[in-house]
Structures are given as C-alpha cells and as structure tokens.
Amino acid sequence: MFSFVARRLAVAVPTLLILVIISFILMYAAPGGPFNSERPLPPEVLANIEAKYGLDQPFWKRIVDYIWGVVAHFDFGPSFKFKDRSVNDIIAQGFPVTLTYGAISFLVAIVVGISLGTAAAIRQNTWLDYLAVGISIGAQVLPNFVMAPILLLTFTLWLGWLPGGGWNGGEWPYLVMPVIALSTSYMASIARITRSSMLEVLNINFIRTAKAKGLPMRRVIWKHAMKPAMLPVLSYLGPAFVGMITGSVVIDSFFSTGGIGTFFVNSAFTRDYSVMMGITILVGALTIIFNLLVDVLYAWIDPKIRY
C-alpha cells in the first residue's frame, strides 16, 4: 500500500511541476507586459516597476525563482494590479469561501445522489425509479450557469424567500442557492451511476445468497451490495471535483459570494497574470491531491487492484 501511494505521488509531483511550467511559459509568452497602459509610462518608470517585480531578470532566473517561491514558501508573488496585496492575500480571502460552499455542495451531491440512485435501483420500474431517472436526465441539460438564473428568478424575484447574493459569513440563507446550483448536475450524475451499478451488483450471485439466508433487505444493501456498487461512483468523484471547482467561477459571478472564482474572472479581464497563475496552480494542486485520494480509496475498497 505504501509503495502504491509513493508511486502515485511520483506521478503527481511532476504533473504539478508541468502545470506550473506551462502556466509560467504562457505568462512569459504573453504579448505586452502587465504595465502597458493606454497612457504609456516614461521608460525610466517602467524600468523601475519591472525591476521591482523582477521582470527584468532573464527567463531562467524568473522561472526558477517562481517555482522555488511556490514550492518552498507557498508564495505566489505579488499581484500585478493591486499594489498592496499579494496573490497569497487574495487566495486567503477567497479560498475559504469557495471551500465552504464547495465542500457542502460536494457532500450534498454525494449523499443525495447515492441515496436517490440506490432507492431507484431497489424500487426499479416504480414511480420512484422514474422520478430519479427523470431528475437525472433533466439536471444533465441544465448546467450551473442555466440553473443559477432560474433559481434567482424563482426564489429571489418571485417568491422573495432568499437573498439574491452575497456571503455574509456563510449564513445558511446565503448558502442555499449556491449549493443547489453547484451540486444538482453532479448529484444527478452520481444518482445515475449509482443506480446502474447497484442494479448490476444486485444481480450477482452473492447477493442472492445473502437474500436466501434470510437477511433483511436493509442489511443486504448496506453490508453486501454497497461497497462493490460504489466503485464506479468513486471513479466519477475526480471529474466531479474538477467540475465543481470550475463551476465555482459561475457561482461566484452569479451570487457574488466572493470566492476565488470572482478573483479569477476579474484578473482575467484586468490581465493580472500572477493572480491567474496562482489560482490555476492552486486548483491544479487540489485536483491532483484529490485524484490521489480517490485512487487510494479505490485501491482500499477493491481488493482486485494491485498496488
């Protein structure tokens, strides 16, 4: 098991390094510096500013410095647009927000999705099954950027039940719509995957044996069927995680929650490269770590996997 984790780590670290290098090269190749403006600065001033941010250094020195800063000190450097803030400050402000509603959405998607899928599989071809299948098809064609305005229209403008945006320290009325908008499509996918894999597992012989020896259905599902049925769901969690992080950009811009998505889009429009890079690398690192966790969990559940 230990060597398995070590081997996965040996792949994960270079992947992250490649991501850092790609984004750095992209930034380096960008036409025009971040300080080019409509009103050109006097060359001395520009040179001073570039020296302050280290932009006058040769490419190799810059990339090594940058990677060293990221790896050794978790330091993503200064923001190019906000003179008084570093990329770290911006991430420290936005990331807890994203993490809060992201984690809640993830849990909601997993718990509701698995329950719905299992219920649909047990009561196959009843109204419950059709409802679950219907919901999962409907949610598939309503991505979060379609879902969010519909929710806003219904709950804020028509019914007036929920605040239309803001964060307010994460009080629950401010959380409801972001969580629904972010989790629904993943919940639907998880429900669909759970349903089909559960149906498959329920037809295997050992389930028949468990039923034949008189175990109650609840125990058959929980003790015997659940674990093997979870494998396909588990391998979907990686893509779902990436999708949710990406979706947070939409959530932030719709509900003004102030997560990292807001900063990412804003810096995309103001060409604040260092902030964009910092967030890209952070998201990449999270994704890679999460995929590693999923792999380990997968190996733990499925004894057929060789470490």
Partner: protein, 308 residues
C-alpha cells in the same frame, strides 16, 4: 422420408431471398436505432435545429448587428416578440434582432460541438489505437501523458490562454481541441486491446502488413461503432463547455455570439421582465443538448454489442 417438396421449395426460396438481402452490422444497428422512439424523435429535432441554424437567417427581417436606437432603454415593452415588427424573438438590450442572433448563436454552438467531436475522433482514435496496438513501454508513456493532461484543470488553463493570446474563435477551437480527445484516446485504447488479438489481425501480422496499415485498415474500422457513440455524447459536452466560457464573457466576442453568450445576456436582464431574452436561447440550448444525449444513448444501444 422426404419432407413435403412444396414446403422445401418454399424454404429454399426464403433462403435465397435471405442470401440476397444479407443484413450488415450497420443495417442491424439502424433497425435497432429506429426502434428507439426517443432517439428518432431527437434525431428529427436535431435536424430541425441544424436547419434553423443553416437556413434560419434567410427568414430574418433584420440584420443581426443592426442596432435599432429607437428601442434603446424601452426594450421591456417595445422589444416584445411579434410577427408584425419582424422581431420574431423580440430584441435584445441594444435593440438588436434576437431572432437573427439566436440563429447565429445556434450555428456557432453547433460548430464548436462538432469541431470538438471531430478532433476527438481523429486524434483520440489514432492515439488510442496506436498506444493499444503497440503496447508495452510506448503504451505506458502515451497513456501516462493522457493521465497527466487529464488531471490539469483545463478550464483554468484555457481561460489563461484566452486572456494571454486574445479572445478569438480560433483560440477557443484550439483549446477545445486540446482537451476533447483525452477520453476518446482511453476508450479507443481499451477497445484496441480487445481487438488486437483477434484472428484477422494475426493474419495481417503474419502476412507482413505494415503496422500503420494494420491500425488504419483493420483496427480503426472496428473501433468506429464505439467511437461514434462517444463522439455523439461528446458534442453536447463541448457545447456546454463553450457556453460556459462565452457565459463568462471570454469566449465568442461581439458582434458574434453563441448560445452561452446569449443566455448570459438574457440572465443579466431577466429582472427587467424581458424574459424572451433568456427563453429563446435557453430553449435552443436545452433542445440541442437533450437531443444529442438521446441520440447518443440510442446509438449506444444500437451499436454496443454488450447489450444485445
């Protein structure tokens, strides 16, 4: 005892007919597909949407970039959809004809989806087939590359690229092309692994056919079924992907538009009561995505030998 000669003749006749009308794998699949009502209806809907995108422009009464200044600021009661004014779908905030814009948006969204799927089919299939056929170390390296690329959050890298190299449709196509083939490569490789030990490939190897020719002539045609299925399911994902970027304002740029950009605009003006601005693009978006998913499902049932 001989069976009734008349009956025997009938059987022979029937066999002759059956021989003449031998059913190919594809004909078989078509029959199965046609039996799936949802898929057939979806196919018709898709044809209608495509026809709308291709020929809808001829019926537009207004140019899509013509700004009617007399409507500015009075959109909520002056820009209502109506046949008389020629604004079939109403107008947008700037007084532009929404019908013409939806026609263009649908076209661009469809194009993005199809380009993404095409790249996936060509690059992904060849890549996967090559890795699967040669196996060994080459396979290991090629698939590791796919793994590494897959665990990069591409949406963020693509937005970074769009910002740095400028927002253009070309850049968008490039970005979509870069990621769309990854899944396809995995699927094609898996399928190739099960095909490459079949007799017909062994015969080809034994008779000294060049490996590249084996891949192109013997492996790829046998992958087509599963590739078509996944390509169909990929199209809606690509459309959603593009809409996402256009929704953020980073994709297709004015005066051009896509469904995602139109939905974004419509969502922004929803509270002023101009619901048609979101309703029409959303309608075409949902119908297209739905239809592609159902056609893909139908094709999977028709072409996937597992579920027969």
């Amino acid at each position: 005892m001989l069976p009734n000669p008349a009956k025997l003749e009938g059987v022979i006749d029937a066999m002759a007919v059956a021989e003449v009308k031998g059913r190919s794998l594809w004909a078989d699949a078509r029959t199965r597909f046609m039996r799936n009502k949802a898929a057939v209806v979806s196919l018709v809907l898709l044809a209608l949407v495509a026809a709308f995108a291709l020929f809808g422009g001829f019926f537009a009464a207004w140019e899509r970039d013509f700004v009617d200044f007399s409507l500015t600021g009075r959109n909520a009661h002056m820009g209502v959809p109506s046949i008389e004014t020629g604004h079939f779908f109403g107008t947008d905030n700037n007084g532009r004809d929404l019908y013409a814009r939806v026609v263009q948006g649908t076209g661009i969204s469809l194009m993005v989806g199809i380009v993404g799927a095409l790249v996936a089919v060509v690059v992904g299939t060849l890549y996967g087939a090559t890795a699967g056929y040669f196996g060994g170390r080459l396979d290991g390296v090629m698939m590791r590359v796919v793994d590494v690329l897959m665990s990069i959050p591409f949406m963020f890298v693509l937005i970074l690229m769009l910002v740095i190299f400028g927002r253009s449709i070309l850049m968008l196509f490039l970005g979509i092309g870069l990621i769309s083939w990854l899944d396809m490569a995995r699927i094609a490789r898996g399928q190739t692994l099960s095909i490459k030990n079949k007799e017909f490939v062994e015969v080809a190897v034994a008779t000294g056919v060049h490996p590249i020719k084996i891949i192109l002539r013997h492996i790829v045609p046998n992958l087509l079924g599963i590739v078509i299925v996944y390509a169909t399911l990929l199209v809606p994902n690509m459309i959603i992907f593009e809409s996402f970027i256009s929704f953020l304002g980073l994709g297709v740029q004015e005066p051009n538009t896509s469904l995602g950009a139109l939905i974004n605009e419509g969502a922004g003006t929803m509270q002023y009561g101009t619901l048609w601005q979101i309703a029409f693009p959303l309608f075409f978006f949902v119908v297209t995505i739905f239809a592609f998913f159902f056609v893909g499902d139908g094709l999977r049932d028709a072409l996937d030998p597992k579920d027969r």
